[in-house]
């Protein structure tokens, strides 16, 4: 099928987006996302696509809205601060029902922070960085291959629901080089009836997010909420690993899941029945993954002060059974460090009788 290459996470994502037919890139330099910007800058001339380095992420995100309004695939990749600046446009694109792909290569916040791996923008991504009632599907890759796959998927989901989609990567995954299989190119030529292309042989299309009255705006909001509900029912994605017989289930996404998987294997080698759930869509949060696991203990680990843990607590019957361990500032735990936490948990809940 595709081509097997050894590629850095950021570049794999950029190459995949180009192969998915995204020939419009508007962005602004920010570590750790700049390789995506640079990749596009290099490739667009030969693809006769468009690359624009905007003056700010505020402007870049609205350029994306302009391209999406013309019915073309467009992408912006940035980091947490860029998403903060682009938040207004994300809310706008949800209200205007514009499909676009936004990538947040997370770095430690708050404030300027650092530039390595972190997961402190979970709430920003899933609860919405902007104003108003809206949601965006959030995909969390944990490998260069998933960066490639999710680039394709993100555009399909965005167009399926006419809503922005976010890919939530981080400063670690972004820089790791791994072997990936790149799918063949596609050239999407879908003509969207709603797109702005000039009113030729049709009545004028208008894209606006300005309410005409509270009554009209509530009706419109309910249309959007219907869409979000459909996403919630249909698009939950996760991966489960040895959860059926597990006493304790680790819950981790993205780079944390890579680390946690090693710890889970260590535990299994020591007869500790530990499993893992890896949420892949962070919104909609995969509640379905927790069905039938009511009697388990859950150990959530993230590179933040505890954000996804709240959604885990919302998804399980007994909140007391959910514990959390996180690292901040760009520090990452070692597998052994997590394994030791699992041992503590086993002792605390007297599960070691099962070893």
């Amino acid at each position: 099928m595709g081509e097997k290459v050894f590629m850095q996470g950021n570049m794999a994502l950029a190459e995949a987006a180009i192969r998915a037919g995204c020939k419009y890139y508007f962005g602004y330099p920010i570590t750790p996302a700049s390789e995506i910007l640079e990749y596009y800058a290099e490739k667009m001339p030969e693809e006769n696509g468009v690359f624009v380095q905007a003056e700010t992420e505020v402007s870049a995100s609205n350029m994306i809205a302009g391209v999406a309004a013309a019915g073309k695939r467009a992408m912006m990749a940035t980091s947490g601060p860029g998403i903060s600046l682009g938040a207004e446009a994300i809310s706008f694109m949800c209200a205007a029902q514009l499909p676009a792909v936004l990538v947040n290569v997370m770095r430690p916040g708050p404030g300027d922070g650092d530039i390595v791996a972190c997961q402190g923008d979970y709430f920003q991504a899933v609860k919405g960085a902007g104003h108003g009632d809206y949601n965006t599907i959030v995909l969390a890759p944990y490998s260069a291959q998933e960066m490639v796959d999710f680039a394709f998927e993100a555009f399909e989901l965005a167009e399926k629901y006419r809503n922005p989609v976010m890919i939530l990567s981080d400063g670690g995954l972004a820089k790791m080089m791994e072997s990936v299989e790149l799918p063949d190119r596609i050239t999407p030529d879908i003509q969207f009836p709603w797109a702005l292309t000039g009113a030729k042989n049709r009545s004028a299309n208008v894209i606006t997010t300005c309410a005409k009255s509270p009554k009209q705006w509530e009706e419109y909001n309910l249309v959007l909420q219907e869409k979000f509900k459909k996403m919630k029912d249909a698009e939950q994605k996760w991966e489960s690993y040895k959860t059926e017989d597990a006493d304790v289930i680790v819950v981790a996404f993205g780079i944390s899941a890579r680390i946690a998987l090693s710890a889970v294997k260590m535990a299994r080698e020591n007869n500790m029945k530990v499993g893992m759930i890896r949420p892949i869509t962070l919104w909609p949060f995969p509640e379905k993954a927790f069905k039938g696991l009511e009697d388990k203990y859950f150990f959530v680990t993230e590179l933040n002060a505890g954000q996804m843990v709240e959604d885990v607590r919302l998804s399980v019957k007994d909140k007391e059974k959910v514990s959390f361990y996180g690292r901040l500032g760009g520090m990452t735990p070692t597998p052994k460090e997590l394994y030791e936490k699992l041992i503590e948990l086993y002792k605390e809940h007297k599960l070691d009788a099962n070893i």
């Binding site: 905007a54 003056e55 505020v58 350029m63 292309t197 208008v206 894209i207």
Partner: protein, 249 residues
């Protein structure tokens, strides 16, 4: 029998949402006339701002998008880059362009984006009820400069047409008025030229239209026309500040 003037076909039946005597209505009408005369109704895409013309998408039978406050030049950039053959016309007020979106418009000019800009300068935030704008005149009373705008606290009025003309990517920049028949005709000529330049693939073309705002200025419509002559003209003189001409690039 000859029709001397007829309501442009391009305008829908919806009434303009502007106050009586407002310059926006005249400018919208001129825009509709030009799009019709230049046979661009199937190519035009209008980018509206947040401001008094926020609902103007309901008045035109052409593709329109209402951008976030200050972001119209960015949305315009995306649209024009995606659809180079279309006529992208970005319409903004002074709060939208000079205040919220100054970075956006300046960088659109810096990049030489190939769309046309109609910038309506009425020296006030109209839609939100008469607050001071960066274009408010010194001494002018507004709800946020109740004692008259003072240099010490809020600096000087911004001369946008001159300012943007100094950016190399700006191809054409003129300031016009719409406060009497002669000036209206001149305004129409300038806007037409800005759009024609665009269709010839030239860089950013910019028309600043000083516009009377009876409500915001607290005067009767006819007096607001005089105020353009007696007050606004001191700060915002008529004129072409840049015109790279037909064969400039």
């Amino acid at each position: 029998m000859k029709v001397v003037y007829k309501r442009p076909e391009l305008l829908t039946d919806a009434h303009f949402s502007y106050c009586g005597g407002c310059g926006h209505g005249i400018i919208n009408k001129l825009l509709a006339e030009i799009i019709e005369e230049e046979k661009l109704s199937e190519k035009a895409i209008l980018v509206w701002p947040i401001g008094c013309s926020v609902y103007a998408d309901q008045n035109f039978k052409v593709d329109s998008i209402c951008a976030l406050h200050g972001r119209a030049p960015s949305v315009g950039t995306g649209l024009k880059r995606a659809l180079p053959e279309n006529a992208v016309i970005v319409y903004q007020g002074d709060g939208d362009l000079v205040s919220e979106g100054m970075a956006e418009i300046m960088h659109a000019a810096i990049r030489g984006e190939k769309f046309s800009v109609i910038f309506v300068n009425n020296a006030i935030f109209g839609m939100t009820g008469g607050q001071m704008a960066p274009t408010t005149l010194l001494g002018q009373e507004t709800t946020t400069s109740p004692y008259g705008r003072k240099v010490e606290t809020s600096g000087y009025p911004v001369k946008m047409a001159e300012l943007i003309s100094n950016v190399q990517g700006c191809y054409f920049s003129e300031r016009v008025y719409v406060n009497n028949p002669k000036n209206i005709m001149n305004a129409k000529k300038a806007i037409r030229k800005a759009i024609q330049y665009q269709m010839e693939g030239k860089g950013l073309s910019f028309v600043e239209v000083v516009s009377q705002c009876p409500t915001g200025w607290g005067v009767k419509p006819l007096d607001s026309l005089k105020m353009v002559e007696t007050e606004m003209s001191k700060e915002y003189p008529l004129g072409v500040f840049k015109d790279m001409g037909v064969n400039g690039n």
